[in-house]
């Protein structure tokens, strides 16, 4: 069996509007600049937005895989030459949000030939605790849970982790605290979430790091450019870069485990 080198990472949050897509995009951009080819997948099926953040209007998307004979390699868009590829999803298609296990398996059968080209697979998941979000999150090697200091963001991400751990047996999560005013707020936010997980769910998530509140972030969204390209020295860009470095280290330490298994693991029968 061919050895797998691709690390799959899902970015999730429970609550919408906490910066998931932007984080997935910029972490991906960091990897690309570091010389690691990656595929950024818009897995917010039905309400896709990454194309907007990238300032592109892709002709095809994952929906085409389900209703035509198209090859996944023809759907992927090259954002930057040399290994920054993007797989768009459809917007306004409610059927995709409610994908069942059979349809998911079909989608991933078609996507698998594409995956091996990359070092990283970033999956930007939708908000909510839909079966699609749960199944995708359970399948990846690494789960990045994005929270903001807002109480509703805390409860939503906690609820998501609770469902994933009780229903899918997933108990390892990396937390990213986004939009924190300062280090102190970042600490409080993470510690509250970690303490509740420890107390009620029986596991402690790991803090991957924080991203400071930075007015250049909305600016990069308006300009439809990755923050790390537009303002690489801004505070949030530096934080994102630090997170990317940590993920690379993680990739190194997980090397053995990844090599033995598939790109995505079948947890609780969600993937074939």
């Amino acid at each position: 069996m061919q050895q797998n080198k691709t690390l799959s990472i899902s970015v999730l949050s429970g609550k919408g509007g906490v910066g998931k897509s932007n984080i997935a995009l910029n972490l991906g951009y960091c990897m690309f600049r570091g010389g690691f080819p990656l595929l950024l997948m818009d897995c917010d099926l039905g309400l896709a937005n990454l194309d907007v953040l990238l300032g592109i209007a892709p002709e095809n998307n994952m929906q085409n895989l389900l209703d035509s004979d198209m090859d996944a390699r023809d759907i992927a868009v090259h954002i930057e030459p040399g290994g920054f590829d993007f797989l768009p999803a459809a917007s306004g298609v409610p059927e995709l949000v409610e994908m069942d296990a059979e349809l998911r398996a079909m989608l991933f059968r078609k996507l698998t030939p594409l995956f091996s080209r990359y070092d990283y697979l970033f999956m930007d998941l939708g908000a909510g605790i839909t079966p699609t979000v749960l199944a995708f999150a359970a399948m990846t090697h690494v789960r990045l849970v994005v929270v903001t200091p807002e109480p509703t963001s805390l409860t939503d991400s906690y609820a998501l982790m609770k469902v994933l751990s009780t229903q899918h047996g997933v108990k390892d999560f990396y937390v990213i605290v986004n939009q924190a005013e300062d280090k102190k707020e970042e600490d409080i936010t993470f510690r509250r979430l970690a303490a509740a997980c420890d107390r009620f769910l029986g596991f402690t998530p790991t803090l991957l790091g924080g991203i400071r509140l930075d007015k250049m972030v909305p600016e990069s969204v308006r300009r439809q450019k990755p923050l790390l390209k537009l303002a690489p020295t801004s505070p949030a860009a530096q934080d994102l870069f630090a997170l990317a470095v940590k993920l690379q280290r993680l990739h190194g330490t997980m090397g053995q485990r990844i090599a033995a298994g598939p790109f995505l693991t079948d947890v609780a029968g969600n993937f074939e």
Binding site: P151, T155, R192
Partner: protein, 303 residues
């Protein structure tokens, strides 16, 4: 007459389809239903005969008169609907008239046996047949169907106060509202006396309740003016019970549940719809639910 079926579902070209006049649509629907039924029958027959010696073969001709159709038109119809195994016979004037008379009599009898003469709604017998068909469909397709049983409030009082002809007007009034308000594929029936029923395929209990409440509202707007009396309005009470594909409820139990819900609606003060208390067969997983003490802990660190 019908011979062996080789399952030819003819793909009709669009111009052949357009060759069928509008007024023959009903006939094609009827033919398709009959074809389906005969297909099921012949499948059941061959199941029964499997392994056995040759069964005594019956021979039956199924005849349906259709005035106003020429042999040429039938040919076009047979072509477009894959009815090649059906035989069409042209009738001369005298035999046609006699047979037509017979057919009319049959149609009238068939209608009478399935409909309530006063309101024109289907009667209990026909309703129960539809209910059985619907229950079978629900089981096959794992869908659901709701049954609503309605009973006009204080109907005896209406009869006593305003007289029986006026009572009949109220009964016809409700049947009119039912016909107007229901969806095309719902079935409205008069079960007897002042008791009516509505069969709502595909409806969930809450949806069924709101649909029947719409009927109740429309009925309440109706004012009956009977000779020598001031106009008055009537209400009814209703009980709703539902059948889901995965539950083991029988028709009799479904009727009983709807009747119980109706009784409760009457006891609660009439002029309302109650949903039967049925065991929820699908239970959701409570283990994933976030409880208030967990939220409390998230926000304050204290339980």
């Amino acid at each position: 007459m019908r011979k062996t079926n080789d399952d030819t579902t003819a793909e009709a070209t669009s111009d052949q389809r357009t060759a069928i006049p509008e007024d023959m649509r009903d006939l094609t629907v009827e033919l398709e239903a009959l074809q389906q039924l005969l297909l099921q029958h012949s499948a059941a027959q061959s199941d029964n005969n499997a392994g056995g010696s040759s069964a005594p073969a019956g021979l039956v001709a199924i005849t349906r008169l259709f005035p106003g159709m020429s042999i040429e038109q039938w040919r076009a119809l047979a072509e477009s609907h894959g009815l090649h195994e059906w035989l069409a016979l042209s009738l001369d004037k005298s035999s046609f008239l006699n047979l037509r008379h017979l057919q009319r009599a049959l149609e009238e009898l068939a209608h009478q046996s399935e409909h309530d003469p006063l309101t024109g709604l289907v009667n209990r017998r026909a309703f129960e047949r539809r209910l059985h068909m619907e229950a079978e469909r629900v089981e096959r397709s794992n869908g659901n169907v709701c049954l609503a049983v309605l009973d006009i409030d204080n109907f005896k009082q209406v009869n006593d106060t305003y007289g029986h002809p006026c009572g009949d007007e109220v009964l016809c009034g409700l049947s009119g509202v039912l016909e107007e308000t229901k969806r095309a594929y719902d079935v409205a029936a008069r079960l007897g006396g002042e008791e009516f029923a509505l069969l709502l395929p595909g409806a969930t209990p809450l949806r069924a309740k709101s649909m029947v409440e719409r009927v109740l509202h429309a009925f309440g707007q109706h004012h009956f003016a009977c000779e020598g009396h001031a106009p008055f309005a009537c209400t009814f009470s209703g009980g709703v019970a539902c059948l889901r594909g995965n539950d083991s409820l029988g028709i009799a139990q479904l009727m009983e549940l709807a009747d119980q819900a109706l009784y409760e609606a009457k006891r609660a003060g009439k002029n309302r719809i109650h949903i039967a208390r049925q065991r929820q067969e699908i239970e959701y997983d409570r283990s994933t639910m976030v409880h208030s003490n967990e939220k409390q802990f998230l926000f304050s660190g204290i339980e």
